[in-house]
Amino acid sequence: MPQAHRLDAEQHPDSVCLGCGCLCDDITAVVADGRVVAAEHACARGEAWFAASSEDASPECWIDGQPAAIDDGLDHAAAILRNARSPLVTGLDAVCVEAQRIAVAIADRIRGFVDAGGLGAHESSIHAALEVGSVGCTLGEIRHRADLVLAWFVDPVATHPRFFERYGVDAIGEFVPRGRADRRLCVIDEHETATAAQSDHLLLLKRDRRLAALWTVRAIVAGLSLDPHTVARLTGVSLEQWNTLARLLLDARYGVILHDAGAADAEASIESAAILHLVRVLSERTRFVAAALGSGNNAKGAEQVLLWSTGYPAAVDLRGAVPAYQPQEATTSRLLDRGEVDAVLSLEGRLALDSIETSAGCSIVALVEDDLDPVPNAQVVFRVARLGTHAGGTVFRSDGVPIPARAVLPSHAPAAQELIALLLDRLEHAPGAGDA
């Protein structure tokens, strides 16, 4: 990290990097010439994230592809949303909690659907929590206590470069005073990943064998006897190796399974639930937790805001008098794929871009952070200040810890929460507001 900065450079300590799910908040962003010239403590990925902070020059609003005044854009957007019969507010995971709260209020006023985002990664984790619950912890607990880390089809060394340094494995902790030397790292993955290269134990497992493998481990932990041939055939790994792994898990004082954020398919849901089940059973014998490696977005915030303001974690239908939970119906991808919405307020502009094919006949109001070309097929586009560099706001880390991202650069464009607060105001006070 180069430490020599121009004399007029501004230092912003404790800045938050949204480059990955680590949400490292010990970054000193160094600002000069209206951009972040250095991000001290950041990994390469984080440096790139800060460096991508663009100049804040392009227009703040487009209507039908033409630059326009924000006021006009708001009027136009409000008209679209107010007249919509089946509107969707989505992309909540791209914005801060403050904006998410307003987004839910907008969905409530326009009587639409509201959902976190397009990828549906939350589906499996929510499904799993409903089936099993979850035994977890904040990332700092992993650092202080975990003497066994099992990386299950995740490669944090590559995707979350500072994870081991900050939250576990390499870090010194209260109950793991020698850091890495006090911990075991097990990796189960398809390939010899960067994380695998650092592991003490590695099991190579084909992706489509994940459920068979989880059931094998669960059975061993439960004390069931298994047929070695069947296990080898179903998992491609010998029963003996699974027994060894199970022993490691049971011998841990505080073990953690690191897994990914999930996916929208059935197998991923079952897999997530099985991991949580395994952890719950292990918790009867020792301390064990599961932790999802988040991404740099605010998916956890979206889940929490939706829970507290509607009672449900995602895919909420606010068309009726009370919120309804439609986890298998009102997700963004399903609604768009099926053409069941006639207007979309997307707080995550790329979502609108991605779904052009399927959303024909549907009006789009989009918020974008970058000065991209106007979003094709969107009627109204607002450029908002980039969260974490140009705008502040609270982001929930994947472990639920709220972290306030702050602006380090000035912005002409409003923050997402400011912009949609104006939009909500239009919807509440313009003629026709509150009509059923």
Partner: protein, 279 residues
């Protein structure tokens, strides 16, 4: 004479048809039926705005005459009478159904028979995900009734099922019988690997020739118990598209999921498992 509803609207937006039930319209005049409110997107609109209504319901039958993939919740909470749907229909058909009969001449969307506790649903085409599954936030699926589907189904069919019978004429997707509590499930065609995970009780009969079970299912042997004869007869009487000749010879019995009680049973054709678990 049945009461016929022909879909005349151009809208593709979701229509919630949950209040349109034989037992409800029975007592209503044509005019009153036309004024029944249905949810179209986020508004309540009269039925007549979307449907041409003819006939009357003196025989207890209500017919949706046209394909309606965006028409959801048909037969929700139904207790008596008959609903026929001609053409593909939307999601949540027969949700929370307690009695009566729904016939879909076409395919059904996701969540067919969600939270169903009684009655009979027959689908000539395919059905989507979560057939006979639980209501949102619940872990318990269908608690009674019969669903037959001539075609294939998506993921999580009969997940959390508590009671009743589901027969699937062709293939089934992942999560078949996941966390099944009890009940009976028959699949004629191929099914995704690992059916019946975490099932506690209940019977799953898989008639395809290649089945993959989790390692926590254990073989008991090949049997032909009387209950399979009864099941075959029941399937025949339901006109389910299941080849009941397979029931004429012993089937392999596996018990599981040993992780969760292990009192469930999966029946397969003899030798359908490439290698069998024995402990």
């Amino acid at each position: 004479m049945p009461l016929a509803l022909r879909f005349t609207s151009a809208s593709q937006l979701p229509l919630e048809l949950d209040g349109i039930l034989p037992e409800r319209v029975q007592a209503l005049s044509q005019g009153a039926i036309e004024k029944l409110l249905i949810r179209h997107g986020n508004r309540l609109e009269p039925l007549a705005e979307h449907f041409a209504i003819s006939g009357s319901i003196d025989d207890g039958t209500l017919i949706f005459e046209s394909a309606m993939p965006s028409g959801h919740g048909i037969g929700t909470g139904m207790t008596a009478g008959v609903i026929r749907v001609v053409g593909h229909a939307g999601r949540r058909i027969g949700a929370q159904m307690r009695g009566g009969r729904i016939e879909v001449e076409g395919s059904a969307g996701d969540l067919l028979g969600q939270g169903m506790s009684g009655g009979r649903i027959a689908v000539t085409g395919d059905a989507g995900d979560h057939v006979a599954g639980p209501l949102p936030g619940s872990r318990r699926g269908m608690t009674g009734g019969v669903i037959t589907i001539a075609g294939s189904v998506g993921a999580f069919a009969a997940a959390g099922m508590r009671r009743g019978l589901v027969a699937i004429g062709q293939s089934a997707g992942a999560g078949l019988g996941y966390r099944m509590i009890a009940g009976t499930l028959v699949v004629q065609g191929p099914c995704a690997p690992n059916p019946g995970l975490e099932m506690k009780r209940g019977s799953i009969v898989l008639l395809d020739r290649a089945i993959e079970l989790a390692p926590t299912f254990r073989k008991a042997g090949a049997f032909r118990p009387v209950f399979l004869r009864l099941l075959a007869r029941e399937l025949a009487s339901l006109n389910a598209t299941i080849d009941i000749r397979a029931f004429g010879m012993p089937l392999d019995l596996f018990h599981g999921d040993l992780l969760t009680l292990g009192k469930g049973e999966i029946w397969t054709r003899a030798g359908a498992l490439a290698s069998e678990t024995q402990a």
